[in-house]
Each structure stands twice: as structure tokens, then as C-alpha cells.
């Protein structure tokens, strides 16, 4: 399998070229276009149809699609939902922890499981962390340009929790708050203090800031609204 990341850094897209029979796994909904004969399969995790609406919007579900080049080579493009960079990372026995929203795609030998790791409520209500294990290539993305910081065990690195995309489990972290805080708005200013040896990936825009900004533009719930939720190309619920 070959991969290419095009149109970086602001609106990066991942294109993979599969030989016949080769497979790639991706976040459901990430497929942008494809060339060639492709078979696809969806694995659904966490959530029966009844809870689906709410669960998808709260970020609690995690659906992956598996694509296979069928009878010939195929080229498939995957796009993250958010603007920003895509990072390819090789896993060889070392795990990777990432924000659930950061997962884009991975090769077959990688398994992703949701983990609370004592982090419930850390990033946002309902948002969980994925632990990727196995061998292969992981592709993750984030809002904005992504920088990587290598910690060498000597000092701690403190960052606002909205800006953490992924980190190696060899790092330990502590939750702290900004000092002398008098009051908060939508999101607590939580700071993560990383220490130890390993890499942490940070992005340059915060989803929480964007969510606060967009708040007044959202429609207000009315008693008459039937709960039909538009979810981009697919409308869930309603009928």
C-alpha cells in the first residue's frame, strides 16, 4: 500500500493506493472519493440503533469502515472532518493514545479501542480517548497545524487540554488548573502537564473555542422540534 498526503497543511487529504486484495480501515464517513473497484464493510461499535442519534452526536460511537481493492488496484482518498494536518505514524508494538476525533485511518494490523484511562470528562463530555495497538501505519488529524514535542524525561510540558491530539503512553500526565481562577465559561481551563519520555502531538486551534464561538449560531430547541437531526449527508431520525 502506498499513501500520499496532499493539499497540506491546512486542508490535508490522505490518498492510499491499494493493490488487489489489500485493505485499509478508516473512520466512517471519511471516504471522499475512490477510483477502481472497492468493497466496503462497516463495523459498528458501541450503540444500538435506538441510542444511535444521541451517541453519534456526542462522539461516543466509533465506527470504522474497511475498504478492500476488489479484483484490481484502487485509489481511495480520506478526508478528516476538520481543517488541518494529517500525521502518519508507524506503530510497531508501541501503542498510541489519541483523541477520538483525531482518528482518520489505519492499516489492518492496528486495533483501536476506546479507553477512559481515568480521563472521563477530560476533553469534553462524552468524548473518549482511543488506544491504538498493533503493527502498521496510523493516520490521525487535528484542528490546525500539528506540532510534535519530544519530552526527554527532564522537564514537564504544560498545555491547555483543547490542544492535545495524541501522545505516547510512556508519558504520564497530570491535570492542573490555571492558578487564581475566579470563574469559568463553557469549558474549564484544564491544563495537562506531561512528563516522562515520549512524544506528544499538539494542534494549533482548539475545538472547545470553536464550539463556544458557534454556540449563538445554533438553533434553539423548541418543544415542537421533532428531534430530526441533520448529520451532513445523512439525516438521522425524524422519520
Amino acid at each position: 500500500m502506498n499513501h500520499e498526503i496532499l493539499c497540506g497543511p491546512s486542508f490535508s487529504i490522505l490518498e492510499v493506493t491499494l493493490a488487489a486484495g489489500e485493505r485499509i480501515v478508516s473512520e466512517a464517513g471519511a471516504m471522499a472519493w475512490m477510483d477502481g473497484n472497492v468493497k466496503s464493510e462497516t463495523t459498528t461499535r458501541g450503540g444500538v440503533l435506538a441510542g444511535l442519534k444521541r451517541a453519534v452526536f456526542s462522539g461516543e460511537t466509533f465506527f470504522q469502515n474497511t475498504y478492500e481493492a476488489d479484483g484490481g488496484p484502487a485509489r481511495i482518498a480520506f478526508a478528516p472532518g476538520v481543517s488541518g494536518e494529517i500525521v502518519p505514524w508507524q506503530l510497531q508494538g508501541e501503542d498510541l493514545l489519541l483523541q477520538r476525533g483525531a482518528y482518520l485511518a489505519s492499516t489492518e494490523g492496528i486495533r483501536c479501542e476506546s479507553r477512559s484511562e481515568g480521563l472521563k470528562g477530560l476533553f469534553a463530555q462524552g468524548l473518549f480517548v482511543l488506544r491504538a495497538t498493533g503493527t502498521g501505519t496510523m493516520f490521525f488529524s487535528g484542528y490546525g497545524a500539528i506540532d510534535s514535542i519530544d519530552l526527554d524525561g527532564g522537564s514537564t510540558y504544560t498545555i491547555d487540554n483543547g490542544y492535545v491530539v495524541a501522545w505516547e503512553p510512556s508519558l504520564s500526565y497530570r491535570l492542573t488548573k490555571a492558578r487564581k481562577i475566579r470563574s469559568f465559561l463553557f469549558s474549564d481551563q484544564l491544563l495537562l502537564s506531561f512528563s516522562g519520555r515520549g512524544r506528544v502531538w499538539i494542534n494549533s486551534r482548539s475545538p472547545q473555542s470553536l464550539a463556544s464561538w458557534v454556540h449563538p449560531f445554533r438553533r434553539v430547541k423548541s418543544k415542537s422540534s421533532g428531534g430530526g437531526i441533520q448529520l451532513g449527508p445523512v439525516a438521522l431520525g425524524g422519520e
Partner: protein, 229 residues
């Protein structure tokens, strides 16, 4: 104090380096990270109160805001990384005592505490909803950081220029302006899709942004889950 801007393209961020005794103020949500010797003091304020300012920050229509003030605690230099909410550029404006600047609320990223900030709220609630214009008057001497959705363009105005209000980032106080409708009559204005425009005249500098957060928000908002009132 000095500021390093990094990240060309849409994801610009600012690294503010502070010496002991210097203070910097920013929207509380803008901080990415801070060196361990920086003290962060988050305060709230509301419109109309004396002192810092009212009406800026991430809320378009709310009356409260959250500001963080950063200073070093231990006599050594320190730094604070700041990021705006939107995809876009960041620019440093050097404000000098001979001319104050007016900065659109949503475009304010941060300012040295040597500057005086006070609100000049316009109270515009356009027909199209979500349209409001709050201006911050920035005077004194020091660094002002502004940010954009998209690209920032600085222009010298000498004569007249008509600007859609959503594209105004900041301008020098010497420019006169009038808030107006774009077409003749209200129906034409509504159909044209434009909210309000600012008719600038005189001589001065203006900084514009290429895209409008309000328009982007109006497109995005209805597609997101509904909220409580």
C-alpha cells in the same frame, strides 16, 4: 516583551515573550500553553464596568467575557502561546500614543497591559441575525494582536471605502465611518444578503479580513445540534 508569529497560512499563532514586570492580556480561551513561571489570572468582567473592557471575546451577543492576564512570577523571562479561534492569520499592530485604534471585538487576540482598552459597543443587531458589531478602542503604547478568519490585509484609506462590517478587523481612529445599509431600502438590503456596511472616509489605516465569521457561523449553526435557550 516581544511577539513571535508562526504558522503561515491558516493556523497562525503567537508566542508572547514576557520580561519580569510586564503583563499581557488575552481572551481566556486563547492560551495554548505557558511556561511554568507564568501566572495566569482569569477574570470576568461585564460591559460598562470601568477598567479593562466589556463585550469582547468569543460570545457575539453575550455581556460577559473572560480575560486572562499573564505575568512572570520568578524574575525570569517567560512565554505564553496564544491561538485564535478561527482558521486565519495573526498580525501585530504597534499602537502609538498619537493614534488610537478601533478593533472589532471578535478580532481581538491580545494586548500588552500598557495599552488601555475600552469598549465602544455599537449595539447593532442586523436583520440577518447574529450580526453585531462591538468595537474596542485601543490606546496608549504597545502591542495589539489581531486575528482573522482567513487572510489579513492592511490598507491605507485616503478618500472613501465601503466595507461589509464582518470584514472589519481594526482601523485607526482618524477615519470617520458611518454604519449604513448596502442597497437602497431595507428589502434590497435583505435580498442582497449583506448585513450592514461601514462607509469609511478620511485618511487612515484599516485592516480587513478576507472571510467573515458571522457568515461561516450562520451556515454551520443550523447544521449542529440544537441548544437550550
Amino acid at each position: 516583551m516581544h511577539v513571535d508569529l508562526s504558522g503561515g497560512g491558516l493556523f497562525a499563532r503567537a508566542l508572547v515573550h514576557l520580561e519580569p514586570g510586564e503583563k499581557f492580556v488575552s481572551d481566556a480561551g486563547a492560551m495554548i500553553r505557558a511556561s511554568s513561571n507564568i501566572d495566569i489570572d482569569v477574570t470576568t468582567g461585564s460591559r460598562g464596568k470601568g477598567g479593562i473592557l466589556g463585550g469582547i471575546g468569543r460570545l457575539l451577543t453575550g455581556d460577559t467575557f473572560f480575560l486572562s492576564t499573564y505575568e512572570v512570577t520568578d524574575g525570569r523571562p517567560g512565554d505564553v502561546g496564544l491561538a485564535p479561534t478561527h482558521m486565519g492569520e495573526v498580525r501585530e499592530v504597534n499602537v502609538s500614543p498619537d493614534e488610537a485604534w478601533l478593533c472589532a471585538g471578535g478580532s481581538f487576540l491580545g494586548a500588552a497591559s500598557t495599552l488601555t482598552l475600552d469598549t465602544r459597543f455599537q449595539g447593532l443587531r442586523g436583520l440577518l441575525g447574529g450580526e453585531s458589531l462591538s468595537l474596542l478602542r485601543v490606546s496608549g503604547s504597545g502591542t495589539l494582536l489581531v486575528s482573522a478568519l482567513g487572510m489579513l490585509t492592511g490598507m491605507n484609506v485616503d478618500g472613501e471605502l465601503i466595507v461589509d462590517t464582518g470584514h472589519v478587523v481594526a482601523f485607526t481612529e482618524g477615519l470617520s465611518y458611518k454604519i449604513d445599509k448596502v442597497g437602497g431600502g431595507w428589502i434590497n438590503t435583505w435580498l442582497s444578503g449583506e448585513g450592514f456596511v461601514m462607509r469609511f472616509s478620511g485618511k487612515g489605516q484599516i485592516i480587513l479580513q478576507s472571510h467573515t465569521p458571522t457568515r461561516f457561523g450562520q451556515m454551520l449553526g443550523p447544521l449542529l445540534p440544537e441548544r437550550q435557550a
